[in-house]
Amino acid sequence: MQLINESKSKKTVNKKNLKAALTLATTALLGSVQVSATPTSVAAEEDTWSFDSAFLYYSEADRVSAAEAVFNAKKTYSDDSILNLKLTVDALTGASANGAVAQPDVQTFTRPSGKGDYEIKAGETPLDDTFHDTRVQLNAQWTQALAPNVTGSVGGHLSKEYDYLSLGINGNIAYDFNKKNSTISFGLSHFQDTFTPEGGLPKPFASMPLAYHDSDDESGHDATRMGSDDDKTTSDIMVGFTQVINRRMVTQFNYSYSVVDGYLTDPFKVLSLLNNQGLAQDYLYENRPDKRTKQSVFAQTKYHFDETILDVSYRYMWDDWEIKSHTVDTRFYIPLGNGSYLEPHLRFYQQGAAQFYQPFLMEDDATPEFASADYRIGEMTAYTVGLKYGMKLADGNDLSFRLEYYRQDPKSAGHKAPGALADMEIYQSIDAIIAQVSYSF
């Protein structure tokens, strides 16, 4: 008879963690025996690719329109590592506000290329209609488990326009705890951008008409320039906390700290220099600080009702340019059966003006250190109303349509409009339509 070594077969059990010990014992028990039935439809775990594509059309009334196409390929490996590759191509055409204010008379501006002029009718906001740009962007992201409950992710970014190059890297690490109900994450990202605007970089507050005074003589133009290209770096730190509240609810909190350093001025934007009757005497190139430190807090909650899902988020952003903004974004997912759904979307945005924002310069005032009349850093409210309709196709692929209306209402930050400007519309609203088709397979 063979002697049985008792100590070999009977193990000691950690009583502290009852559930873990039982799970282990259960796995040993249920995993130990061959299943006697013949498997008929066992789906083996293997690497899978999934693809998302989208086409978006953005169009502002009388201003720019943009077409953007995205193709995303995602490979999920059997160990749950994920490789994500994304190609984005967009094309922009149309007119963009050049920063000057409307006048009671016709205004003439030179195009940034220096070739040709464009005239703005009396009473209209000056728009530079020469914008057309094509951009190609590549993103790659690799995500994998580094340890039980620890997920790491690294990514690269490349974006190229004919006058702009952006290179970026990012890294993120997330730790799940409390049965994966809580996650803390920490991320870093860094972008290195190079801007080579057509016509070079204008000197702060240089006169635009002077630059193009005589198209045969380049010296006047060159005197207003300070080089052909400049750099900008953007460094972000983000910490996040995600918490599952219950079976129906999940929340997220993020804090971001971002430093943008380098050439932050828009080389195509000018300010009208007005006399005390409010009439434009000159157009001077804007100038912004070469550093901006932004911070933001972000909170999001998703709640699953019996059928529908409510998604609400809020962001508060503030920076050392004294811009403060509030963003509320709400989506409501309504399933219609058979995999189709409707999703209304509401977004509200409000920002305060940068400390150096001003809609125009006055001849009698001393030239400030920094000034910009770009309405995008002025006081503004904006809202978006949209609706998305998605459906599951017979082959299991997803098709969706999205149509949104976006309106920006720039507001006066308290700058008094002199004389002739009293009747002019300085803060013109912008209406835009966003239309998108997405297909996933």
Partner: protein, 74 residues
């Protein structure tokens, strides 16, 4: 915005963090949370496209994900 709000937000986050032992679900109760519609970013492409639009039209960016630079965006 006043500081009071900021503090209350931080307070909410801390309350949630410290209370998390009683929050959450068992793995087999994740039926709703596991659906793709319940993912915090349920439609990454839409989010990326929106981020790009608002990045180029407003003074704020990021918050939910990295704000980034990445384009001239005039």
């Amino acid at each position: 915005m006043n500081n009071k709000f900021k503090y209350s937000l931080v307070f909410a986050a801390v309350t949630l963090a410290s209370g998390c032992s009683s929050l959450g679900v068992e793995p087999w109760e994740r039926d709703l949370l596991a659906t793709e519609q319940m993912a915090l970013t349920s439609s990454p492409i839409d989010s990326a496209l929106d981020d790009h639009i608002y990045f180029s039209k407003e003074a704020s960016s990021g918050g939910k994900s990295f704000g980034g630079g990445g384009c001239g965006c005039n």
